[in-house]
């Protein structure tokens, strides 16, 4: 949650792309804003929640958020929704039909591509949706443009009655720059106009609307040809002229300050005739776009010769050094070698689960079980695939753990007959898309044990609220989902639903062993909160008594980052086997006293620290 109230007066502000979009959404007189969290777009709604005079919600998934925005637009209100790239895949079913109905109040969809994959399951180019759905796409290059184009997007949306895609990337969302901001203007909704031929999309009504959609696209082509969002920057070195979009425009200007550049802001539909004229003023045209050769293909199809992905990568960001290497290739020169000291090999530092994360107990337990296949999902608990647990076998898309587990059960052959199939899913992911999968498991009697990790937070994206927390985006109280009742309602038998404390390892182990033995759907719900959220209360920390520690290393298998090895020793066991001992200490200032590591410690070397040190959690937001 953003700590401070956003500024509401017109001002020069230092804003991230996300903050700039939120500012413009508020200024545009937007009445309804909805989103499901997802890196790198999450902060947009968090910031919007701080502005007055608009309704802002966390929705349970992106499809619902887009439908909420559409409903508001039908009332004639300005509406907005934001999502990460993969979110638009989820929302696309709604998108593909709302492009046929068109919109009423301005409707803007901000979609943030995680170019460079800082925190995502894939890298994809959301600009394709603009082509697929025949809707305009705007591509800002920095915070100022993110602000200005959000305002422009509402205007476009209302003039052409179309949803508009604002395509952001990580390098827009999370970069701060100066923004000249204005004031909010109020926009009164025009009211819902009953019009079944427009809003009731059955074949008879939808068919006559298709030509309208294509007519709109033709008009948008003219708009794009005249739009000030598409402009040429003059340059005296005409050997290469660039066509650039998004943050890549800044990188081109940085690397080749003397080259002419055609900047595309309204990049779909592209202003092809203007590009043709531009191409004639330069020796060679190079298209610089992240990530797919989308414009390149369109420009080539228009008969304009250009280069692009034959020189530049289709994966990751096109930073200035990447561009320089690509252009050197075009010129047949050696790639520039900047004078740098040699990069040094240092151990990797993958993200870890937090100290005392309730998921630690789950993965410790799963890592001790044999003969299981673990169908995983997306969230902090995906880290269970890593060390020391190695206890997650798949991760595909939100909610996929359910269907994948069911398919594993139904598809298994004799070699897997004895395997236990376990699905692991977080509370937010479960409500996003997992619930339907569980319904399918229950309905089709899958032999699957579901671990539903209810930590009362969307931990992965920073601890946002969800229907399981009983609070909404603005922190107001709302009804709290009863997961056990919900699972029963979809058809899992009451006896097969257990709620367990993930810090009680023997209880968890017993529950898992019993439920995986029974050949019917079962759900084990864990009920301890994420340590990053307000209502997590640390208790008395632990320490290791040096003389008692035998160096067995059992506690290290819990995976808590507060446990550190102090020294290693090699020793030969009575059996003749050589083992390495690892003696440990606990970072008492970080330990929150969850008690997990105490349980596998046979010599009882881990005891409460005396005197009680004030615990300062290592990773609080």
């Amino acid at each position: 949650m953003s700590a401070s109230q956003p500024v509401t007066a017109p001002s020069r502000l230092f804003l991230s792309g996300n903050e700039a979009v939120a500012r413009a959404v508020w200024e545009a007189g937007t009445r309804v804003a909805a989103a499901y969290p997802g890196t790198p777009s999450t902060e947009i709604l968090e910031v919007l929640a701080g502005y007055p005079d608009l309704y802002a919600e966390w929705s349970i998934n992106e499809k619902v958020s887009l439908e909420v925005a559409l409903g508001a637009s039908m009332m004639g209100a300005r509406a907005f929704c934001a999502m990460k790239h993969v979110g638009l895949n989820v929302a696309s079913d709604a998108l593909m039909t709302m492009t046929v109905t068109g919109t009423e109040g301005g409707l803007v969809i901000a979609v943030a591509d995680d170019v460079g994959m800082s925190s995502s399951q894939n890298e994809q180019d959301s600009r394709f949706w603009g082509r697929f759905a025949h809707v305009p796409v705007l591509e800002p290059a920095d915070s100022q443009e993110a602000y200005a184009m959000t305002l422009a997007a509402f205007d476009l949306s209302e003039r052409y009655r179309t949803p508009v895609i604002l395509r952001l990337t990580t390098r827009i969302c999370h970069v701060k720059g100066l923004v000249l901001a204005g004031e909010r203007r109020e926009v009164e909704p025009g009211g819902f106009q009953k019009d079944p031929r427009r809003w009731v999309m059955v074949p008879g009504n939808a068919k006559p609307r298709l030509p309208l959609m294509f007519e709109r696209e033709r008009a948008l082509r003219e708009e794009s040809a005249a739009s000030p969002l598409n402009f040429a920057v003059a340059g005296r070195d005409r050997r290469i002229g660039f066509v650039a979009t998004g943050p890549a425009f800044m990188h081109v200007r940085e690397a080749f300050p003397d080259a002419p550049v055609f900047k595309l802001g309204l990049s779909c539909p592209p202003p092809l005739e203007r590009l043709r004229i531009f191409a004639e003023t330069v020796d060679e045209l190079v298209v610089v776009e992240e990530t797919e050769p989308l414009l390149e293909g369109e420009i080539k199809a228009a008969g304009i010769a250009c280069r692009g992905k034959d020189l530049l990568p289709s994966i990751g960001e096109l930073a200035p050094d990447v561009l320089e290497r690509g252009i050197a290739r075009l010129r047949g020169e050696a790639a520039p070698e900047p004078e740098v000291v040699a990069p040094q090999q240092v151990f990797p530092r993958p993200p870890t689960m937090c100290i005392a994360c309730p998921h630690l107990g789950v993965y410790y337990t799963l890592s001790q079980m044999r003969n299981i296949v673990i169908s995983g999902d997306i969230g902090c608990y995906t880290l269970g695939a890593g060390h020391p647990w190695n206890a997650l076998d798949t991760c595909i898309s939100m909610g996929a753990s359910m269907g994948v587990a069911l398919g594993m059960d139904k598809g298994r052959g004799a070699v897997d007959a004895n395997k236990k199939i376990v699905a692991v899913i977080g509370d937010s992911t479960f409500m996003h898309m997992g619930l339907q999968g569980l319904l399918d498991i229950a309905w089709n009697r899958g032999n699957v044990t579901v671990l539903l990790l209810d930590n009362r937070a969307v931990g992965m994206t920073g601890g946002q609220d969800n229907p399981g927390t009983g609070r909404d985006l603005r922190g107001n109280e709302t009804p709290r989902v009863d997961f056990a009742a919900l699972c029963e309602a979809v058809g899992v038998r009451r006896e097969r639903i257990r709620v367990v404390d993930p810090y009680q390892l023997p209880v968890l182990f017993k529950a898992l062993r019993e439920e995986t033995k029974i050949e019917e759907p079962s759900v084990i719900i864990t009920d301890r909160p994420c340590v990053l959220i307000d209502h997590y209360t640390p208790t008395k920390p632990y320490e290791v008594i040096d003389d008692r520690c035998t160096g067995c290393g059992n506690c290290l298998e819990v995976g808590c980052p507060a446990i550190h090895v102090t020294r290693r020793e090699n020793t030969v066991k009575a059996s003749g086997k050589e083992v390495e001992l690892a003696f440990v200490r606990i970072d008492t200032a970080g330990c929150t006293g969850c008690g997990l590591c105490v349980q596998p410690c046979a010599p009882e070397a881990i005891v409460h620290a005396e005197p009680a040190v004030q615990a300062v959690p290592f990773v609080r937001k």
């Binding site: 700590a3 943050p247 940085e254 000291v341 240092v346 151990f347 870890t352 902090c380 060390h387 290290l556």
Partner: protein
């Protein structure tokens, strides 16, 4: 106002949870207060969970790309010793690194999969970098809270910026007076402690 024709590149690196982003934000506020154009960008995949964090700060008359490229940082502020080593190649050859010699050992090292470098600071020096190192973590703990570490590191960088140290100190204090006034005084102390510690390290070096 200082000369602004050239862009200044500062790279701040560390581990999730250390306050790297907040520190860079304060550096940005200082540069903004002098009228510079400023861009700041982060690479912090899932950073709250102890991963690698880098924050790039560029300021000058006009800044286009927000990214600092290898070999182009004018100053490296390393909040953790091995992280400073990891990002050493981002510095211009011969440029200075201010390094917290305190260590944060990740689980992959604890379980024995990887080794922590023996002496990251010495290794950086063999690369020809000017390294000023001191234990900012212990210093912060002595001042009462490990979380003062980022203010200590800001103090350490204060005399190596293209503007007076007071501008940065005022930015630190402004932030605390606005949000947590009871912490302003201790942060002033932390800032000065970092400044002195790095001066002592420079004398020793």
């Amino acid at each position: 106002m200082p000369e602004i024709s050239k862009t200044t590149n500062i790279l701040v690196c560390g581990v999730g949870g250390q306050g790297v982003m907040t520190a860079t934000e304060i550096l940005a506020e200082a540069a903004l207060s002098l009228g510079f154009d400023v861009k700041k960008t982060e690479v912090a995949g899932m950073s709250q969970r102890g991963g690698v964090v880098t924050s790039h700060l560029r300021f000058g008359a006009q800044v286009r790309s927000p990214q600092i490229l290898p070999g182009e940082a004018d100053l490296l502020v390393g909040f953790e010793a091995a992280e400073a080593l990891r990002w050493g190649h981002m510095l211009r050859p011969g440029a200075a690194a201010l390094v917290n010699s305190g260590r944060i050992v990740p689980p992959v090292v604890n379980v024995g999969l990887f080794d922590y470098p023996d002496d990251p600071v010495a290794q950086m020096r063999t690369l020809g970098l000017a390294v000023y190192a001191f234990d900012a973590s212990s210093l912060a703990q002595q001042l009462g809270n490990i979380r003062l570490g980022n203010t200590v590191m800001l103090g350490a960088s204060a005399d190596r910026l293209p503007f007076p140290a007071e501008v940065l100190r005022d930015a630190v204090l402004a932030r605390f007076s606005a949000r947590k006034p009871h912490l302003a005084e201790i942060n002033r102390e932390a800032f000065e402690a970092g400044r002195q510690a790095v001066a002592a390290a420079a004398l020793a070096a």
